[in-house]
Assembly symmetry: D2
Amino acid sequence: MYNVAILGASGYTGAELVRLIATHPQITITALSADRKAGQTMASVFPHLRHLDLPVLQKIEELDLSAVDLVFCALPHATSQAVISKLPRSVKVVDLSADFRLRDADEYVKWYGGSHEAPELQREAVYGLTEFYREEIRDARLVAGTGCNAATGQYALRPLIAAGVIDLDQIIIDLKTGVSGAGRSLKENLLHAELSEGSHAYAVGGTHRHLGEFDQEFSAIAGRPVQVQFTPHLLPANRGILATVYVQGDVGEIYDALSDAYEDEPFVHVLPEGEHPSTRHVRGSNFVHIGVVRDRIEGRAIVIAALDNLTKGSSGQALQNANLMLNIEETTGLMLAPVFP
Amino acid sequence: MYNVAILGASGYTGAELVRLIATHPQITITALSADRKAGQTMASVFPHLRHLDLPVLQKIEELDLSAVDLVFCALPHATSQAVISKLPRSVKVVDLSADFRLRDADEYVKWYGGSHEAPELQREAVYGLTEFYREEIRDARLVAGTGCNAATGQYALRPLIAAGVIDLDQIIIDLKTGVSGAGRSLKENLLHAELSEGSHAYAVGGTHRHLGEFDQEFSAIAGRPVQVQFTPHLLPANRGILATVYVQGDVGEIYDALSDAYEDEPFVHVLPEGEHPSTRHVRGSNFVHIGVVRDRIEGRAIVIAALDNLTKGSSGQALQNANLMLNIEETTGLMLAPVFP
Amino acid sequence: MYNVAILGASGYTGAELVRLIATHPQITITALSADRKAGQTMASVFPHLRHLDLPVLQKIEELDLSAVDLVFCALPHATSQAVISKLPRSVKVVDLSADFRLRDADEYVKWYGGSHEAPELQREAVYGLTEFYREEIRDARLVAGTGCNAATGQYALRPLIAAGVIDLDQIIIDLKTGVSGAGRSLKENLLHAELSEGSHAYAVGGTHRHLGEFDQEFSAIAGRPVQVQFTPHLLPANRGILATVYVQGDVGEIYDALSDAYEDEPFVHVLPEGEHPSTRHVRGSNFVHIGVVRDRIEGRAIVIAALDNLTKGSSGQALQNANLMLNIEETTGLMLAPVFP
Amino acid sequence: MYNVAILGASGYTGAELVRLIATHPQITITALSADRKAGQTMASVFPHLRHLDLPVLQKIEELDLSAVDLVFCALPHATSQAVISKLPRSVKVVDLSADFRLRDADEYVKWYGGSHEAPELQREAVYGLTEFYREEIRDARLVAGTGCNAATGQYALRPLIAAGVIDLDQIIIDLKTGVSGAGRSLKENLLHAELSEGSHAYAVGGTHRHLGEFDQEFSAIAGRPVQVQFTPHLLPANRGILATVYVQGDVGEIYDALSDAYEDEPFVHVLPEGEHPSTRHVRGSNFVHIGVVRDRIEGRAIVIAALDNLTKGSSGQALQNANLMLNIEETTGLMLAPVFP
């Protein structure tokens, strides 16, 4: 049995970690932190977890981490780095923030503003896209969870770039995401009355921070700079990301590159050729569904990937990585079937 | 390991059974039936279940039930009775339809129209509200799953009637239910465009069939005829039932009757006095949350119960009963935390 | 042509007033205020109004009200009273806040906390439920818009209390409301992720402030104290209130009392006996639909009323009252058909 | 005063026509048809229209069209052509089906299957995208309403193709549409439980019939064959289309082409450069909002257009065209502000 702590347990990714670990047979939650809600129970902050016997929320500095094997850090961007740099080196860390996703210090400044407070950890951190960094993650002390949009786009594109089957200068990711990806923050545009019954794009034109991850990862695979177009849209739904990816190349080669890449993966399923996925069929689960469809225009294809932003896009991915780091069978606690309808 | 079959697997309660059994360590699904969709895979009917290795859908008469320990019958009302009466007596049955909920043949005719085709089974069947029929269910061959609305109202009211702490002639159940309770049937009023962004009552004035269950059960507990008022409403949501129950009696006695009744129950939680539940905090789970609030008018209280109609209201209840019938620990496979948000 | 100003135009009721007045042939908006958003255009605060030629938002103290015939005051509760008491007596006022709904100073303190800053105006204000205060409103200088829930319950109950056809001690209003009634305020429980796909009650047990209006109005009609039970619930929808009202009395007398009362009303429609309404069929309109259904228990009936909280429940009502006060035909600008689906 | 008939009044576009005409000062509805629902009132088929005094639904062959000036034909695709070819030549017709959108008989067969029953009318019909066919529509006897998706994409692209400012071989339309565009038909995938809380693409790869319109119109403007990529997605919302259009060209020229084209248009608004629209800000209205954003990749831009599929995308467009054909001021009855929230 391993002991874990969750820092920032009053947000949605923290709650999702608790939900998943609730039925995990080898992991126990022994400490939970929440800054403004310190002193409260999880049942009062998240009544859906009231059946669980959980530690009371505490401030980070009050936590006893002496018997903790691994810390999940679900703190806001930019606060993670300071907290993690103060943790004892003996504890493993899975960070769900953006703080350690970019390996290059300049890129971090470019996308996130201020300079990084823990550049040495930035270099040490392993990028947490499990299927592509599995061995490094197994040996890592610090794993950086990916952006949820960044994960979805990469599941569709990494094998295609690696196999050299698409035009690297004509890639468009048109992405639709549920609202829980924006967290539990009080913003006018996240109110039900503002958001339901409609849709709009945001961060249009190449300004979304997850582009930093696309640039870093796709360029590394290709061995040359790759820039994609990326337009996220907000859906009137809580969970789910659908990435519609437009690529140019031979559709047969594209399909084969994807099926080969994910053939033995427990969580990533390539649908039969011509079929394509729906976010509602992965809801609440750690699965990714990917479809490939031939366009009527010769030499063009549409690749569509769907996952649940809170599960495979963040907390499920984090638990999958923690399993590897703790030498637990990778799928443990993560085979929950999607919840439909 | 026990083998089960699911009849009527192409509906929502069938799919929910598969979802729950997917991570159940002691039950295997060895046969699935669906009439019009016979020959198809579950993955094509319910793509969210594509990661599972499941038998192909067959017509009931084609199923091999020889090695099956228990059959879940998720067929439409009125078709269940004929099918179940033909099953070998050696196989245990959990029926999710309305066919065996009412013990009295005349009551069945009154609420469901035609006469019953298997009246002897009707008498044999045990009413499946686990917490109140646990011992009978353990020994039963045939268990009749309750109506989902009927279950919700009973969780709020049975302990109060049993304890004699409320006025039996002044009970009102104002209930709100998500749309999945109506099943996957093609009806104009279940279309998204008809149903989203609004609410309305249905079966107003005491015509909803679940009243047959309320009448039967409440009268039996009270030892005299009890009739409640019951108005269901449709919510623009997929899962969840909220029953707002108006009762007259001493609020302290009411609260005590409920907390005493559910003190040791793993799935039924009575909230601290004055708190009340939300459907979203039980979504996708087998839990029931119950709250009691004192009204400003002396001698009146509001009891509110919430559960997920597809889980605790039908398929979760069915699995809980199957566990008992198969001598498996009752909570096995059912401790999944609710999915929020 | 009449000139009007709207104070507090950056909230939902302010925007709804602009929407309705946009096609009103005899009213022009000549001034708009918003405190924190002063200096912005309405198009930036409410992009759906960008086709209109509207004054820029200003602070109240900067407005030129000299040529204004009537002011709509859509400010938050408790701030309205100070602002209105400083307006010149020559300008007519329709207040959409709660500040002038209760005529009794003690009742105001009981339901709203602090003491009232303009008690003389409190006495002067006419209660804005148009169908029942039409003549007083015509001559009023200050009209107090009703609570949206309070309006819905009163449409169902006032004629029944006035006709003496129901038991005054057994009235229950179980109400479901869309989320826009809570306004555009930043509260965690109003986020899409918290609110969609579920339902819960709030202000349970007789604590909702609109009970002050029910008490005042129902007691005045009955000529003796009347207290109702009232439980509001939040729907995952933006607009619409459905009040399910449980009464005891003869259903024929109840139906007649309602049809007689509303026979000549342009906006209040009593459905054929046995039918009942849906919020989606009044969405975006100034109409009220009322249905009466006989319960299976002798001597009991269910009366269900539906309206749009932002239209008939507040801004539509306000414009209807303004029409009367400005001697414009009452229905002008308000005959827009509901928007369905 | 002009008299109109609506054929196929029991569908959503029929109901939307009634909603809009309800407050139109110069048009009266004198006949309504519905096949299966003949004999019923509109109030029973669409309770939101119960306040209107409307003719009873009849079968088409029973209608008296002698005094009718114009017929709106909202019948299903393929049934329109037979009906319209039998109407007297003296009556003007606005058809909302797909039957007369394609001028070329072979293209019709390619996209819609069977051969056309009224090829001579096909040649006569004027394509109903008002802003681009205004003069022809004014003089037309038969106007073919456009596809709702086809309209949205054309608003974004026509001026760019006409101005020659984009690469004609690199155009992608990623479109998101609300569910009412699919009509009131009983299909499993349109059920609330199937559709809410998620999103998926459909007709992927260039198979959607509205591509026939894109091909016809864009090729005609360009004077050479133009093929675009087009992927529609279903949103869990009732109304609204958002077309995210990826183009290659100079963003300044693109912006200028759009603002010039729509400068004097009453319903089409080009937002300030860098801003982009939301479907919820045009809901229930006849307005189109268009935004242009520069991509981080030099020489690429994203053009986003939003409209309400039932209003500007079909019934509002139809009324706008009818106004022109009847020599009524074009915007009459269509200046209703969008309904938000």
